[in-house]
């Protein structure tokens, strides 16, 4: 057994090697435990009292720059930004809330507010409005509305985005259509036919050019599902306690979505065509010039300019069904909110006020080509002119005056999952698993059950 001593030495060598690595790394990383401030089980994250924790899953670079300016202008203020990938922050927010170590301020997806604040996740901030004399009328109505639940205010709108019909003018010309005429979104039958007319398949039956696919998935667009429902007069909730997923208007919408998909070759052909495109982040078959129409957000304007500068396209609001004059819109976006149990409210308020001030909001609009929630900033000519497509930017920003918002309900996420993304309820219809009526009825059962459980759990 002569090998033993040797092997043992090797075992130690690994350990020593690893320890050496640790020592080395400890030098590289001053944030090693020894140097870390002891949190000592206090209810605050490890940070000096004057430092506030600010968590965001959007706009990392812009926030860093803006917070640097803020701290320069306010020598006493210290802000630590922690950024996340979109969609990854909520588990952490919930966990830290449970542990009483919630951050001082977060940027939250607005449609989640009712579900989160309604369950006690957010601090009520009516005080803030008083203290800083904030006027709700200064903000776009839809964005302000989403911060309220049961008559109390929980968030201040930060940024927003609209949804529009985009069309490829070159593909319209090639099909003998007037490229400068927006598609007839008020006429659903015409849209169905136009979608089919603009679809071209190859000898193998594969779609080479897609006309229009009215649902949110893999580059077919974003947020359209809500727009179609609203334009048909569809509502998702009757009141705070009653879901309305079996609304006949929603059944009609599902049927129309299915009809359009059938018209372009069916769901398999549509899924085949869109396979491989990312669902967000710049790239899309529309930009690549193979999708003739889509409903998507105004953020595409700056992305087209960056990734597809030669794209020849139009953009217009979606019409109310049957009306050539009335339009509808969708306001998405984020807000600023304070988790329950966060300390140092004054510092959070101060930062909140800075983030929603005219100068900051204008800078956000110009730098990030995102729509400020502060009306005055959104309508500033300087911002409009900063867009690569000023006329379209104007349409987008002005649309916030009439834009609608997703249902304010503690079951907003359930509705979103069924109706839009991943769109379970819609898939039932598209994949022929259920009729639109059946799908709507089943969605109703699910959402109503979740809603009843919510109201039971709050003891009302």
């Amino acid at each position: 057994m002569t090998a033993n001593r040797f092997s043992r030495r090797q075992f130690l060598q690994w350990s020593a090697g690893a320890a050496g690595m640790a020592a080395l790394a400890a030098c590289v990383a001053p944030a090693a435990p020894g140097a870390a401030p002891a949190a000592g089980g206090a209810a605050q994250p490890a940070a000096a009292e004057s430092t506030i924790q600010f968590w965001s899953e959007i706009e990392k670079d812009w926030l860093e720059a803006t917070l640097a300016k803020y701290q320069e202008a306010n020598p006493g203020a210290k802000v630590e930004l922690v950024s996340f990938k979109w969609g990854e922050m909520m588990p952490k927010v919930l966990t830290s809330s449970a542990g009483g170590t919630a951050p001082n301020l977060i940027i939250q997806d607005r449609f989640r507010m009712a579900g989160w604040a309604g369950r006690g996740g957010a601090t009520q901030i009516d005080d803030y409005v008083m203290q800083y004399d904030v006027s709700p009328d200064d903000f776009w109505p839809a964005t302000w509305a989403e911060g309220n639940w049961q008559g109390k205010l929980y968030s201040i709108p930060f940024n927003t985005d609209g949804r529009f019909i985009f069309w490829n003018k070159d593909l319209f010309s090639a099909a003998g259509l007037d490229p400068d005429q927006a598609p007839p979104t008020y006429d659903w039958e015409a849209m169905r036919d136009l979608a089919a007319q603009l679809t071209k398949s190859n000898a193998n039956g594969q779609v080479e050019q897609m006309g229009f696919v009215p649902f949110e998935k893999n580059g077919y667009g974003n947020g359209g599902d809500y727009v179609y429902a609203w334009s048909n007069g569809g509502e998702f909730m009757k009141d705070d306690r009653t879901a309305w997923m079996d609304n006949p208007k929603l059944v009609e919408t599902l049927q129309w979505q299915k009809d359009v998909v059938e018209g372009v070759g069916g769901i398999q052909a549509a899924a085949d065509f869109s396979a491989g495109w990312p669902s967000t982040a710049g790239f899309s078959p529309f930009g690549a010039g193979t999708l003739a129409m889509m409903v998507n957000g105004d953020w595409n304007l700056s992305q087209f300019n960056e990734y597809y500068p030669d794209l020849n396209f139009g953009m217009a609001p979606w019409h109310v069904r049957g009306s050539e004059s009335d339009v509808t819109g969708f306001a998405g976006g984020f807000c600023l909110a304070i988790p329950t149990g966060a300390q140092n409210l004054d510092a959070s308020y101060k930062l909140m006020n800075y983030m929603t001030s005219f100068d900051t909001q204008l800078d956000l609009g110009i730098q990030r080509q995102s729509i400020p929630c502060l009306k005055e900033a959104a309508l500033t000519e300087e911002l409009i002119a900063s867009s690569p497509y000023p006329e379209l930017r104007r349409i987008a920003n002005e649309s916030m005056e009439y834009a609608r918002f997703r249902p304010i309900t503690p079951v907003g996420q359930e509705i979103q999952d069924l109706w839009t993304s991943p769109g379970t309820g819609r898939d039932w219809v598209l994949y022929d698993q259920k009729t639109p009526e059946q799908a709507a009825a089943d969605m109703q059962t699910q959402v109503q059950k979740a809603l009843d459980e919510f109201w039971t759990s709050v003891g009302a």
Binding site: M1, A3, N4, S7, R8, Q10, F11, W14, S15, A18, A19, M21, A22, L24, A25, A26, V28, A29, A31, A32, P33, A36, A38, A39, G41, A42, P45, A46, I58, E59, K60, D61, E80, L81, V82, S83, F84, K85, W86, E88, P91, L94, T95, S96, A98, G99, G100, T101, P103, G276, W277, P278, T280, A281, G282, F283, A288, W299, E306, Y307
Partner: protein, 299 residues
């Protein structure tokens, strides 16, 4: 690669010359076929890394085109510099190295001890404890995450590195089970002999079991390294400052916004992140090749 000299085994020499040479040729043909299969498969498996590297040097215009380019038309190497400039990758790598080293030490020490207990001793309750050990792997961590967070918060460890390495010194069920399987394959006679020679229980563990389990211990080191290196959820939950992020968590910094992702920088950082583990594996796997001298001992 297929033209490499072939190894002949001395015991293959046969008295009949013709048979011997035809057998030799069959052997060579077999080797050749194996080479072809293994090389083809290896190329397929190395493809993800290749793809990651070429994506990190593609220009925007080439990122999403169908069919994708397998060899970029234009090379843009600036994404590496940009990634290093925009995100403190070196700092994140340092944090990851620090945590990984502690985790590997902890896992090697604790898991081998505990596995030795389960492999070598029968005791009242040992079977039940083994079931409990296995059970800890079976409850999805999404539901224990918050209670566990409360434990660490009680200890005052939120936003420190402790929750990310201290548990490693108390064993990991996957690795204990793995080592136990290996340890159980080592013949009892070796230990009986040592026991008669007066070796203590600890000496048997240290002088017999560990040296004979080098491949398994190397496996443990590699797995623990890889898990800590790639772990995302726990750093996400426990780390509250940018400068304490690990590299796996830091990759998120390239998701600038819901609709903006720095794809090439993300890929460049991923390449930087994969290299240390790949190198570690390359050097540690000598322990798989070298093998152990079990045969001689057994005879």
């Amino acid at each position: 690669m297929a033209t490499e000299p072939l190894v002949t085994h001395p015991q293959n020499t046969s008295t009949v010359r013709v048979r011997s040479s035809s057998r030799l040729w069959a052997k060579r043909l077999e080797t050749l076929i194996i080479y072809i299969i293994v090389t083809a498969l290896a190329l397929a498996f190395i493809f993800p890394l290749y793809w990651m590297v070429i994506t990190s040097v593609k220009p925007n215009a080439e990122l999403f085109i169908w069919p994708p380019t397998l060899w970029p038309r234009t090379f843009e190497f600036n994404h590496y510099g940009d990634a290093l400039r925009e995100v403190p990758i070196i700092r994140y790598l340092g944090n990851s190295f620090y945590l990984t080293a502690l985790n590997v030490i902890g896992a090697l020490l604790s898991c081998s001890l505990v596995a030795y207990a389960f492999a070598r001793y029968q005791a009242p309750g040992s079977r039940v404890l083994f079931v409990v050990l296995l059970a800890t792997m079976m409850l999805p961590h999404h539901v224990t995450m918050i209670p566990l967070f409360l434990v660490f918060r009680q200890l005052g460890w939120v936003n420190t590195f402790q929750p990310l390495w201290v548990p490693a010194f108390f064993g990991n069920a996957f690795l204990i089970f793995l080592l136990r399987q290996f340890f159980k394959s080592i013949p009892d006679e070796l230990f009986d002999a040592a026991r008669i020679d007066g070796a203590s229980e600890f000496a048997q563990y240290w002088r017999i079991m560990l040296p004979l389990s080098k491949p398994a211990l190397a496996t443990v080191a590699i797995f623990q390294f890889q898990w800590t290196w790639n772990d995302f959820l726990y750093p996400l939950i426990y780390i509250n400052s940018q400068d304490k992020k690990t590299i796996a968590l830091g990759l998120q910094d390239f998701y600038k916004s819901q609709t903006t992702v720095e794809w090439q920088q993300l890929m460049a950082a991923s390449v930087i992140m994969v290299l240390p583990v790949a190198l570690l594996f390359f050097f540690l796997q000598r322990y798989f090749i070298e093998g152990i001298t079990l045969t001689g001992l057994k005879g």
